[in-house]
């Protein structure tokens, strides 16, 4: 019995790989209903008038790409459909290329022009200082956009002097940037803010949801899938929900099975005695 618990971990690895590949190859539909925190972000964007300014901070790097890039793309589709002026930026140097790719590729699908319909500001160091600088004056914080254009000449930024004039800010975060955006941006310059994050930090953000410091939250690929279903554009995240379900069940089965074996073979007693 106990030998069952000592199998080579590579056998378990193989189980996981097969589960993911097979559930990607097989097509079956699973409903992905949106939860209120995700819906709040969607309806906030729905409520914005054409030409409103939305700042999207891509605060992640390639290691969280598979969770946050689908989220960014779903959001951008929604923004461009609603003809919002998107301002993209990042606090993580490693995320610059991914952010630029997302902003421009989705823009080209809607025929949006750089500088007129959207802006990509790129990366700046400083984190909290940068956010405060943007809150006081966007143009001293970012004198040039990512492509070297003078930001004060860009039509897409017309009517924006600082963060106070931004209608909605969304931070897509793989680290502690949401907290930083709240403390030094949202609370200081009073704008509406929503957030998307990797699943790992998702549970940590519930206090801010409750205190209304963020109006909505998308956590992980699941959050992205919910947003995709709200926008009505099923893509990578929705596809991913099939293997996601299967692997969760697999992990749960592993935990239950091994604990059952552990208890049946008297493992609990040994542990208690060992203490």
């Amino acid at each position: 019995m106990e030998r069952l618990l000592r199998i080579d971990r590579r056998i378990i690895f193989a189980f996981v790989a097969v589960a993911v590949i097979v559930s990607l190859l097989l097509e079956f539909r699973l409903p992905v209903p949106a939860t209120p925190p995700v819906e709040n972000i969607f309806s906030k964007i729905e409520s914005l008038p054409q030409g409103a300014h939305l700042l999207l901070a891509f605060d992640y790097d390639p290691s969280s790409k598979e969770e946050l890039q689908p989220m960014a793309i779903a959001l951008l589709h929604h923004c461009y459909q609603k003809n919002l002026r998107v301002i993209g930026m990042t606090l993580w140097p490693g995320g610059t290329g991914l952010a630029e790719q997302a902003v421009t590729q989705v823009a080209s699908q809607y025929g949006k022009k750089n500088g007129e319909d959207y802006v990509f500001l790129g990366y700046k160091p400083g984190v909290a200082s940068l956010i405060i600088n943007m809150g006081e004056d966007l143009y001293t914080a970012f004198p040039k956009d990512f492509y070297g254009n003078d930001t004060s000449t860009l039509p897409a930024l017309k009517g924006v002097e600082s963060l106070k004039d931004i209608d909605y800010v969304i931070d897509l975060a793989a680290g502690a940037t949401i907290e930083t955006w709240i403390a030094f941006g949202k609370e200081k310059y009073r704008f509406e803010m929503g957030a998307g994050c990797t699943a790992v930090i998702g549970p940590d953000l519930y206090p801010f949801l409750d205190s209304r410091q963020i109006n909505g939250l998308m956590a992980g690929l699941k959050g992205a899938a919910e947003y995709e279903s709200l926008v009505g554009r099923k893509a990578q995240a929705t596809e991913g929900m099939r293997p996601q379900s299967v692997t969760h069940v697999l992990v749960i089965v592993f935990i239950l099975f091994s604990n059952a074996v552990f208890i049946l073979s008297g493992g609990l007693r040994t542990v208690r005695r060992g203490k």
Binding site: V200, D204, G274
Partner: protein, 410 residues
């Protein structure tokens, strides 16, 4: 646009000639016009806005609007600045300016940023003039008074007074307790049960005659977690020297390496066993995350360590480290303030010091006044928060909102 304005201003001049227009029934509309229209610089701001207040009028309703007219001079031209429903915008909407009294519903309040209406002409010292009118649909009845104010920057934001008091008093508390801990280094810190687990694990390693392994987190010497880890390492090394077992220490940063070597050496010296210290047991095994995991895992399986200690700040590698350790059957104790990794340590280790317990353990062991004092100060801060939450909620539930209002942040 010009014509209605012109008409309006003539109308206004006519009305202002009439001394008894206040509260009078205006032509066409039977409206009681509001009184006490005032303009003043908004307190607590940087000099961007002017505040307008006036008393509630009995004829307000959902289909009646208020209109504010704005001009850079007494005699126009007047510009319609804002129009809003007459049963909105009360003084009670701005408790940061007027407080929480109930009767604030008797006055209207509007904050206006006049410079927005005159783009290009940004004279910061300009005086602006305001007029008020009531309107139902297209019909507009002016109130008559012209009031004026100049927006100026303020030097103190009174609405943040509670924040300032908290900052000053908490600073005082922190500095006081640090000074206090200097004089009384035996400040009480509760027993951290995780430290007993450390002794137990070391005892078992000695019994089995196998080495103990101390694994540092991935952060450098600048982080509080690593400093706490070094303090705990000192204690473990002393016990190890007393028990006469072997202690292996692994890390990934050259500065942490040299500090750890120093600490272990000193502990052996203190225990009177300087001969037992072997520098090769404190090693930098790898610099990057995954090679670190592989190297540490290699040591665990090769040397069959009987006790593993994971202390410091860990990232995703925590899971693989602790899992490998658990598979070798070692007793494991973790101490980390990286909350995202705690679940994995809790399920794979025999004992886990969670979050701030790491700092407390470090203060407890090192007896450093700075750590002890600030631990005590933070405890006091927590105690105050607990009391505020407890009594605040009880009182608020009985309709007494005093505490809620005092701690309200604007």
């Amino acid at each position: 646009m010009r014509l209605p304005l012109l008409l309006l201003s003539t109308l206004l001049t006519v009305l202002s000639c009439n001394p008894c227009n206040h509260g009078a029934l205006a032509q066409g509309l039977e409206l009681i016009l509001p009184e006490g229209f005032k303009a003043f610089d908004t307190p607590n701001d940087s000099g961007e806005t002017i505040s307008l207040t006036w008393k509630v009028s009995p004829s307000e309703s959902t289909d009646i609007d208020y209109i504010i007219y704005l001009s850079p001079s007494t005699d126009g031209p007047w510009q319609e600045a804002v129009r809003f429903r007459s049963d909105t915008h009360y003084k009670s909407d701005a408790p940061e300016l007027f407080g929480f009294r109930k009767k604030l519903r008797n006055s209207h309040f509007l904050r206006i940023e006049p410079r927005r209406y005159f783009p290009g002409k940004e004279n910061k010292k300009a005086v602006y003039y305001f007029k008020l009118a009531m309107a139902r649909g297209e019909e507009v009845v002016p109130q008559g008074e012209v009031v004026s104010a100049r927006a100026k920057g303020n030097w103190f934001d009174l609405s943040k007074l509670n924040n300032l008091i908290i900052m000053v008093s908490f600073s005082g508390i922190v500095l006081f307790f640090i000074a206090h801990a200097r004089r009384f280094p035996h400040l009480f810190v509760r027993r951290i049960s995780g430290l007993d687990a450390v002794d137990e694990a070391l005892g078992r390693a000695t019994e089995m005659g196998r080495p103990a392994l101390f694994v540092h987190g991935l952060t450098g010497m600048g982080s509080i977690s690593t400093m706490a880890a070094v303090n705990i390492l000192g204690r473990i090394a002393r016990k190890v020297a007393e028990y006469d077992t072997i202690l292996k220490v692994v890390n990934n940063d050259p500065i942490v390496l040299s500090v750890s070597q120093e600490v272990v050496k000193e502990s052996y010296l203190e225990a009177g066993r300087p001969d037992a210290y072997n520098q090769d047991n404190v090693v930098l095994v790898a610099s990057e995350q995954f090679p670190y995991v592989v190297a540490v895992g290699g040591i665990m399986t090769r040397e069959r360590t009987a006790a593993n200690f994971f202390v410091g700040f860990f990232y995703a590698e925590s899971l693989i480290l602790a899992e490998t350790g658990a598979a070798t059957g070692a007793i494991q104790v973790a101490a980390t303030d990286s909350y995202t990794q705690l679940p994995f340590f809790i399920t794979t280790c025999d004992y886990t010091l969670m979050g701030e317990e790491l700092y407390a353990a470090s203060a407890y062991l090192s007896r450093e006044p700075m750590l002890l004092g600030s631990l005590r100060a933070q405890d006091l801060g927590k105690a105050i928060i607990i009391l505020v939450l407890f009594f605040g909620t009880i009182l608020a539930s009985f309709g007494i909102e005093f505490i809620t209002q005092v701690f309200r942040a604007f």
